[in-house]
């Protein structure tokens, strides 16, 4: 009976070890989906200008207004990359952690810091129009220094706010595509 238990435990353990070793990419990680087209619309605006550089500079300016540091840029391809480190503490999580601690559950890790990354890409579209697309993502670390979230930012309001700031900066209307 004891051997049986041992065997089962070892079996489960070895399966766990082997599966922990081989991490496989999700089947749809590089698959274009319906959702990717909706995201493209959300993240892209068309501007009536053929001055790509001016639009890119304005994009960099808005990123700086929002507190991002520029990490990389390649004007020849219309690319700017920026990031910022910010506090990620959420009141709800703090309240839950306090409750758990009060009930004797010990210290529960809560979100502490986050790194937000942005990449802006411009692309001429026809002779009198330039498209600009911004994509955002973030990584969140908890109080134990472990990564608790890695995600793309897909909230429409965030993108609307960015484009309203950008169109103010270039004195041009941002048109949806």
């Amino acid at each position: 009976m004891l051997y049986k238990l041992h065997t089962i435990a070892l079996l489960i353990y070895s399966v766990f070890i082997v599966s922990a070793c081989v991490q496989t990419i999700p089947k749809d990680a590089l698959q274009l989906s319906q959702e990717s087209m909706q995201l493209r619309q959300l993240q892209t605006r068309a501007f009536s200008t053929n001055n790509e550089k001016k639009l890119l500079v304005a994009g960099a300016g808005v990123l700086q207004d929002l507190g991002y540091n520029i990490d990389e840029s390649e004007t020849q391809l219309g690319v700017i990359v920026g990031s910022k480190d910010r506090d990620a503490t959420e009141a709800g999580q703090v309240a839950a952690a306090v409750l758990v601690a009060a009930l004797g559950g010990g210290a529960m890790p809560i979100d502490k810091n986050q790194k937000i990354r942005a990449s802006i890409v411009t692309r001429p579209s026809g002779k009198k129009q330039t498209n600009l697309r911004i994509t955002l993502q973030r990584v969140v670390w908890n109080t134990q220094g472990q990564i608790s979230k890695t995600q793309s930012i897909e909230d429409p309001l965030i993108y609307q706010e960015f484009f309203s700031k950008l169109s103010n900066a270039v004195f041009l209307e941002a048109q949806e595509i």
Binding site: H6, L10, Y13, V22, T24, Q43, E72, V79, T135, Q137
Partner: protein
């Protein structure tokens, strides 16, 4: 029963050593066969428009949910990261192939594992083909 136990114990220790002997050996490690990987990761397009190809690669990466990390026009490289509960890093390079073609090579890393499964690359090139309005040809 004792035998099963022993076999499992050996298997377990083997699987553990298979995981990592010395982590230093990862520095020059290559996947399966290098030739095979190159084939899986490369496609040729009938165009000589290098800048256009690079820009289309950037747009395709954005379509697939990537944030661009780096782009270099002179080197012809683009890198991006996709975060979705995991971290997927891709580097795509472009170089001329003969007088009429452009060779595109992509390589992906899923968290800390290089991606050697052909399917994700097929999906990437399918998306790129659509954006390029050109057919991707496999190369030897």
């Amino acid at each position: 029963m004792k035998k099963i136990f022993a076999v499992l114990a050996v298997f377990l220790s083997l699987s553990l050593t298979a995981c990592q002997t010395s982590s230093m050996n990862k520095v020059m490690e290559t996947d399966s066969s290098q030739v095979q990987m190159r084939q899986i990761q490369s496609r040729a397009f009938s165009t000589t428009n290098r800048k256009g190809t690079l820009r289309t690669i950037i747009a395709t990466l954005q379509d697939l949910g990537f944030v661009i990390d780096k782009a270099d026009d002179e080197l012809g490289t683009v890198s991006g990261t996709k975060l979705d509960g995991y971290s997927l890093r891709m580097t795509v390079t472009v170089r001329p192939r003969g007088k009429t073609q452009t060779l595109v090579r992509a390589n992906a890393t899923y968290n800390v594992t290089p991606v050697s499964d052909p399917q994700p690359y097929q999906q990437f090139f399918a998306a790129l083909e659509k954006a390029m309005f050109l057919t991707a040809q496999e190369v030897d």
